[in-house]
Symmetry: C2
Subunit: 238 residues, 2 copies
DNA sequence: GAGTGGTCTAGACCACTAT
DNA sequence: TAGTGGTCTAGACCACTCT
């Protein structure tokens, strides 16, 4: 573990264990430098992490303080941290996530998908439609498109499990980032039937483009979430 | 403007103007250091910004590349950048945002609000209910609670404009951060009437706690958004 | 092995806040 | 004016990727 991460972890732990309480002032940087035998930049970087996580507040010329968070909110932050992950397996650890495949085919990419995935000549994509279940209850309806030449040899069986696991563990590709837009709308007939809700009833509409470590988009998906299984938490700083 | 910001701006501009195109490799760090007469750390920091904004991808041992973004998505990113702001005035620049006040009163804080805002003895809060309009069309229904001793002298008139402007410009307080959770549900009777949608029809439910520069929470709000005026964009990295 | 980005340091100097 | 955090540097050394 890197030094700045270790320092961040150590301080985070002190906050979660109540050694540093809400509104408390942390030791000043120069003291932290001595405590952790680290340079100014390294301590600063550790504190930057904690600030982005929403745990502390820094005030130039004044000091660094634990944020005045309600204990519930603090626990929430600890559990999820800032490092949001890709795929469901981590998020729903301890629960059983399964899938029903409604479509698994290779098609010529529709024009909007071509644009989004920056495809020109080699424009065949997997077209996969899945309903995903948490402990047997449907929670999302997902349509996704992936270029076959970037994600070779994907099998129906992989889609039944986790597509992201296949990409990471079998293809040894790394997922670098995703760009996401969340909206709200009424469920259409098919979504309603599969998610077991009424047509027109509220669902979250999430459209997401995923990128590999080399910066290439490899997946565009439209996911409809059943409301009771959907919540999106974010911390905005400065 | 700080040096690392200036460097980030300069490179961002080259990306948006197409000098660096999707999938292009950027000059290596050491070249950027010479170009901008900056140290390694400063250049790194500039590139970190661009990576968090979703514009570039860095690959250790390999190089730094422009992300393979569709041109639409790129424009989107430029417009919003990462620096999401607080309050509506910036987001809806060029449009007219008005409010109808449904409630403006001072009450003893309900228990859950006491907890969220960490109030104990001095627990009187403003209780403000507003409908907000964009060019005359209702787009959100907002209930918010603010401790009177942290936000003194707020008038009904301020709530008709922007509460955030009052806090920033008249009280000279700085808003440091907000913690937000977004869900989806059906509109209740009152929301439906005010937002001019059918009861039970889809709305976004956003619950948000705002913090001042000193780390103290000063506002808890529940905002219901009419779907056509709601979209939440995020970039997740690594 | 050559080339890339990442971490970390020690210290100079700057910017802001309180008193 | 004293005390806090922020920026920036020059350079040592590390970690990873490609050929």
């Amino acid at each position: 573990m890197l030094k700045y991460q270790a320092i961040a972890e150590s301080i985070r732990k002190k906050i979660t264990e109540g050694v540093y309480k809400p509104d408390d002032q942390l030791p000043k940087s120069s003291d932290l430098e001595k405590t952790y035998q680290a340079s100014k930049m390294t301590v600063k970087r550790a504190l930057d992490e904690l600030e982005a996580d929403g745990l502390i507040v820094k005030r130039r010329g004044n000091g660094t303080f634990v944020k005045g968070l309600a204990s519930n909110d603090l626990n929430q932050l600890i559990r999820h941290s800032r490092r949001q992950l890709f795929g469901m397996s981590k998020v729903y650890a301890g629960h059983k996530v399964t899938s029903k495949i409604l479509a698994f085919e290779i098609i010529e990419a529709p024009n909007d998908i071509k644009t989004r995935l920056r495809l020109d000549v080699e424009s065949f994509v997997y077209h996969i439609v899945r309903v995903r279940y948490l402990d047997g209850t449907p929670f999302s309806f997902e349509t996704s498109y992936m270029p076959i030449y970037r994600i070779p040899n994907l099998k129906r069986q992989d889609a039944e499990q986790s597509i992201f696991s296949y990409i990471r563990n079998k293809l040894h590709l790394q997922i670098q980032s995703s760009h996401r837009i969340v909206r709200v709308r009424g469920a259409n007939e098919q979504e309603a039937e599969e998610l077991k809700v009424a047509p027109g009833s509220p669902v979250a509409d999430v459209r997401e483009t995923y990128f590999l470590a080399n910066g290439v988009p490899f997946n565009y998906s439209i996911t409809t979430h059943e409301p009771s299984h959907f919540a999106l938490e974010t911390v905005l700083v400065s």
